[in-house]
Subunit: 449 residues, 2 copies
Amino acid sequence: MASGTERKARVLKGFRDYLPEQMILRGQIIAIFREIFERHGFEPLDTPAIEYLDVLTGAAGENEKLMYRFEDHGGRPVGLRYDLTVPLARVVAMHQNELSMPFKRYHIAPVWRADNPQRGRFREFWQCDADIAGSASMLADAEIVSIMAEALTAVGLPEFTIRISHRRLLESLGRAAGVPEELAGVIYRSIDKLDKIGKEGVQRELVAAGVSEAAAARLLAMVTAVGPPEVLLTELRQALRDVPGAGGSIDDLAELFSLLPDFGVPADRYALDLTLARGLDYYTGPVYEATVTRPKVGSVAGAGRYDALVGTFAGRSIPATGMSLGLERIIEVVREHGLMPVPGSVAQVSVAAFPATIGAAARIARDLRAAGLRVDLSLQPNRSIGDQLKQAGRKGIPYAVIIGENEVETDRAALKDLHGGEQVEVPLADLAQALQSRLTVASENDAID
Amino acid sequence: MASGTERKARVLKGFRDYLPEQMILRGQIIAIFREIFERHGFEPLDTPAIEYLDVLTGAAGENEKLMYRFEDHGGRPVGLRYDLTVPLARVVAMHQNELSMPFKRYHIAPVWRADNPQRGRFREFWQCDADIAGSASMLADAEIVSIMAEALTAVGLPEFTIRISHRRLLESLGRAAGVPEELAGVIYRSIDKLDKIGKEGVQRELVAAGVSEAAAARLLAMVTAVGPPEVLLTELRQALRDVPGAGGSIDDLAELFSLLPDFGVPADRYALDLTLARGLDYYTGPVYEATVTRPKVGSVAGAGRYDALVGTFAGRSIPATGMSLGLERIIEVVREHGLMPVPGSVAQVSVAAFPATIGAAARIARDLRAAGLRVDLSLQPNRSIGDQLKQAGRKGIPYAVIIGENEVETDRAALKDLHGGEQVEVPLADLAQALQSRLTVASENDAID
């Protein structure tokens, strides 16, 4: 080691350290998502961070430009994964004979994109994906939507809407409105901006791109119609009766909407919203996006059916649908709006001691751990007890146990509430119990707050 | 997407997909380690996969050559982390004023090294690290050794030994034996091979490198002496009484061995073993390595004190000690020797249905999930029930619930044991309870096996 020469400690732009307090909240939220995925029988999967470059390229349009790419030690062109969907498609293709289809899997892992860092957007961020490969049924889509709703509800988001559209329906709407075929791409991009630039803005953009005033107006009227899904779908079926292929998209959506109540998705949590386009090239069917309406922070989860992607690896068509929860954005919302109580430390109790009692303290810490408690043993018996307690308080540990010589002789310990300040003497035999009951009361109070 | 052109689905050499069955075992073992770290009050931390190249270089000798390095989109030289210790040192230096010392943290994450892949050695592998920064006390080392022992015991390793040595002691032994100062490096490398080439081999190597026959023999005698730590340390103190600095190393070890019983490490789990050198350049004090003796698979965890590494970033000395559990090797041992029961699927029950009953099946699946069960809903009501059950059995799901029209009318379900084959009718109201009691019995039988 080049000792003596100081190295500059710094982190690349767009990257972050997650210090304990942040990690504790991340861990809580990831555990909730994992629990929900597993409750639905989704199996865990992990794939390499580094893949052959040609495995990663070809499917993701814009995102590919943001890919970290380099040559490995053998001169092979490689890249860091920029999502978890392309690796899933590769895995399903490689293991199609071993995997029992439909294959339901979840994958919680970091991905990398050399994007311009901005608030809530990072170059390394985690995705929490749940996908179903090998089923073309709308049952699969209904299950994905229900998982999305459960996950967002479980982290305490008070209000959100899952907007549901269909990738091919927007094309059909364009045709029905009289937009020339070659302008389909323009439609996607313009409609996508509806939230930002309003109806008039979109109308102007469409006209500027060569769509007639009348066609643009018709398109906008159909896309922005509001009402119960069944009613809107009936109207659409009528309006698109002469557009080839439109019937299939409407059938998909009608079936999906009829399934969602059985899958337990509350009616106020989803809506048919044809303004939803979703950027990724690989979607082929229904698409979904969860938008948080209170606090108003925008999209926190995206999903959709991509029936052709796996086939680019597998050589045969394997339909798939799935979703991605935007962990970073969700954490930001939960944190800013205090939706979940977050302890400052994983430790529930700190054990402070004197030089003469550190051995006894280590043994008592062990007993408390055996009883299921998370125990920080002070490693500084040479410091004053006051200092040791201050240290524990700074870390956010709620309770301390003080092991003095008197206490060791009488088989007792001093138990101190580091928030409230009260201190009581407790027989060692009752210590774990005393701590557990105090911690239970504290967490119930948190829940009531 | 380049539809029509098939992409070749493959994984880079030295990298692996973790399919569900592997992931379930990985998840179980990681959860055990995390639980033990948190029981000891260690806080979670995560750091970026990509770091400035100069942050990563300078500390790790051999490992640096194996680092994946490239330029990012801004032309900055960057690398993928090859361990979790250097990033910890950087974090402690950057946040030394916020972090409460001693800072106990754990970090469970992948690292990358472009090593030659071989059995049990991969280019992407996970480390499970627990470290304490900001304490020079042997209390910190005792806690690290105790965590190592608890972790290996918890995953069911029937026999292992934590070998304990001291980085500076081997140097002192060399001096005492009369080995010229400039041959210290030779000593490390040769002694490290003792297991492979035996005493005679090491003796030959040392002599070939210029150490006298007598000095080599004296060194080997001291290094390979066997006995209780207190006895050996007393003998060493006598033998090294004239070697400057040797007393400090011996004091460290004597204190550490006196602490281990209070920290709950059973006496048959550790031994003083001066043949342990450990390759990493940054160790400065006691070093540890856990060797599994049955099954005989070698080293599964390494640790040691590195009091100078953080200082290369911090500009002031911050002592630290810590350990790394070799997850991949441990998983291999647990798997090959069947040390933990591993279910084939996270799902505990599959719900099969007919097209007319799929809505009811979805509702029943929901109720079972609400009762805490992990439920796979069959998405293939058009297939025969026999097919659906076969599918569930192939996935390794132990139970199935069949929802037919009769069952819906009578508020009952057929509950089938997919291993044993028995099938019973159960009222819907009792279904969750019936499954839970069967699963409890099954897991108790697993535990007895």
